[in-house]
Symmetry: C2
């Protein structure tokens, strides 16, 4: 499999660390400009056209981050490289660069997510531990979020067999702090992963982002005790959106910590009371082999001097006119504007980089409300 050159690696890191560049914009930029270096060159112009200047990460910052990651005993793995988690590579919005501490050989085995309530009952923690131990014994890697409660129980029970913790902050900002020792034990036979830079203290909105990584790494996720409107339900939804198996353990109808997981079961999630139930549900996915990676392009790599077509001023105006606060499908915009798909994508990218565009599920986009971005 291909590997990034050191030069490409710097360009990738600068691009993903630049303002308003998320994994989806990263993919669009690399695919549009034929590589990260060309995208970086274009970035200031694109953002200005979209409505405002953005901060572009410098070469020095990127090189510092690489050095610090190395000093920490960790490394960065790029989307498309051999050690990148196979299932995650196939997920929408996979991080272009993953900072990893531990043994990346766990990424070559199939993984199952086990997540649940931070304030889980004693029975919930015990069940998560038993399930993790049994699935670990059957050769599966356990993915979770290093949180209190169910996550910690699942990790702790699969230290020896291999477990992966997706972190919401930088690898030097373990959250919650009292799980620092658990994190140290995880990396003996497993790994910690994050898409966030070192030094990043996780905030509320970083946790749903982290849940996306748990779902993406796993062929399926088991929800053990989740209240309504809990983070675990977000993980379940994200897993369903990318075609992974959603499973849940039943709990008392009187326990609010089980309301969300019970609701998943009522809605058709796979009913799990034993490891065999998980294996039975996931074995067809294993037989099918790892999911197909999305077309991002280490192969396509850096294409020197590549200059994509630019939309003309009147084309740009037509695309803008079709956008509003209500979500619109990108292919509808292409059809209605008469501008070609690459041109439309570029205008959308410009707006996104300027912080004026919101991307929704199902390939839909909307303008952010003025009071949200002015």
């Amino acid at each position: 499999m291909p590997r990034l050159t050191p030069e490409q690696r710097v360009a990738w890191l600068r691009l993903i660390r630049s303002e308003n560049v998320g994994p989806r914009a990263f993919r669009d930029l690399v695919n549009h400009f034929g590589g990260a270096s060309a995208a970086l060159d274009a970035l200031p112009t694109l953002a200005r056209r979209g409505g405002r200047a953005i901060r572009v990460a410098s070469r020095a910052e990127a090189e510092d981050e690489f050095a610090e990651v190395e000093r920490l005993g960790a490394r960065m793995i790029a989307l498309g490289e051999a050690d990148y988690p196979r299932a995650l590579a196939a997920a929408d919005g996979a991080p272009p660069l993953l900072t990893v501490a531990g043994d990346p050989s766990v990424f070559h085995r199939p993984a199952v997510g086990i997540v649940g309530a931070r304030n889980a009952s004693s029975a919930g923690r015990s069940f998560a531990a038993r399930l993790a131990a049994d699935l670990g014994g059957a050769g599966w890697v356990i993915a979770s979020g290093l949180a209190r409660g169910v996550d910690a129980a699942a990790h702790a029970a699969s230290i020896e067999s291999g477990t992966v913790a997706a972190c919401a902050g930088g690898l030097d900002r373990i959250y919650p702090p009292e799980h620092a020792d658990l994190a140290r034990r995880i990396i003996e036979h497993g790994a910690l992963v994050t898409e966030m830079p070192l030094g990043w203290q996780p905030r509320g909105r970083d946790f749903p982002r982290r849940n996306r990584i748990i779902a993406g790494m796993s062929l399926g996720v088991v929800i053990v005790e989740a209240a309504t409107r809990s983070g675990s339900l977000i993980t379940a939804r994200l897993a369903a959106e990318i075609g992974r198996e959603v499973m849940a353990a039943p709990g008392s109808p009187l326990d609010p910590r089980c309301e969300g997981s019970n609701a998943l079961l009522r809605d058709g999630a796979t009913f799990v009371t034993r490891a065999e139930h998980v294996l039975e549900a996931l074995s067809p996915m294993v037989d099918r082999g790892p999911p197909e990676p999305k077309p991002i392009s280490l192969a396509q790599a850096e294409t020197a001097g590549f200059r994509p077509a630019e939309p003309a001023a009147d084309e740009r105006a037509r695309v803008l006119e079709l956008l509003g606060p209500a979500p619109a499908a990108v292919d509808e915009i292409v059809r209605q504007s008469g501008v070609d798909a690459r041109g439309v994508q570029l205008v959308l990218l410009e707006l996104e980089l300027a912080g004026r565009l919101e991307r929704m599920a199902g390939g839909r986009v909307a303008l952010r409300q003025p009071d949200a971005w002015v």
Copy 2:
């Protein structure tokens, strides 16, 4: 609707209280001979032909039982009479006579069964009570088995709105004895029912019989905490066999008391954590109206002088030859023997009365093993 005459009523009670006459044999006998009196006359001959003499209940015994039932303030309701529970009348093996204490107007409203573990957890009891109260408030009658645990909680929470307890023994032999007071409160707005005679002390095998009545009276049953191989699972199976809705409440995978109910859910039982889930599942059955009663024949009633065709000796021999310890379908026996269906039914009845035939689900029959009946 028709009512039995006093004379018919005596004949019905004598017939059902005779040795080896269960509800199915009762139906076959009445339908074959055109009424209970004619069946009673034929009974000794039939049993002798089947292989052994049986005890036939006397007129005096039947009259005594009616008198005692009346003295207890109870009454007997016959299958086909207006006050007989509508849904039960449609169930296979419905008791021809039901002894009832309380207010039979509850039998005119739709009922839902709530059953579960005798050693239920505190949460299980509370949930059963909440569900019973909410369904009672929505106009439903709660059917259960007067057992400890879930049954008692469901009854107690629906005293005012109406609840029916199916008893495994005679109405003067309340089991467990400490529920005598609960039984007294149930009959204020609801009813106790049984198919067993007064004075009958319930034994182990009477409980599955009783479960058949709970399932039969109900449009659906909710199982709250049931271990594997528990009586509640029998109720669930019986309900499924007669086309009633099987529902269950989820519980912790670590609680052995929930293993059976969780297994039901995995197998597709309706997932219930709130009364609305039950109402949603049962409302199509209510809209459809009560199930159609099986063709038993108060209308067909007593047909004086009716003499059905008897199979010839060689026909009887051909039917016997086709029977063995392995279950065989009755319609296959009809086809393979070349004897008409009524003739085959009569031979089977003879064997059943003599205690030599076992009836299985799906209209199949087998000879009892010699050591079981000699």
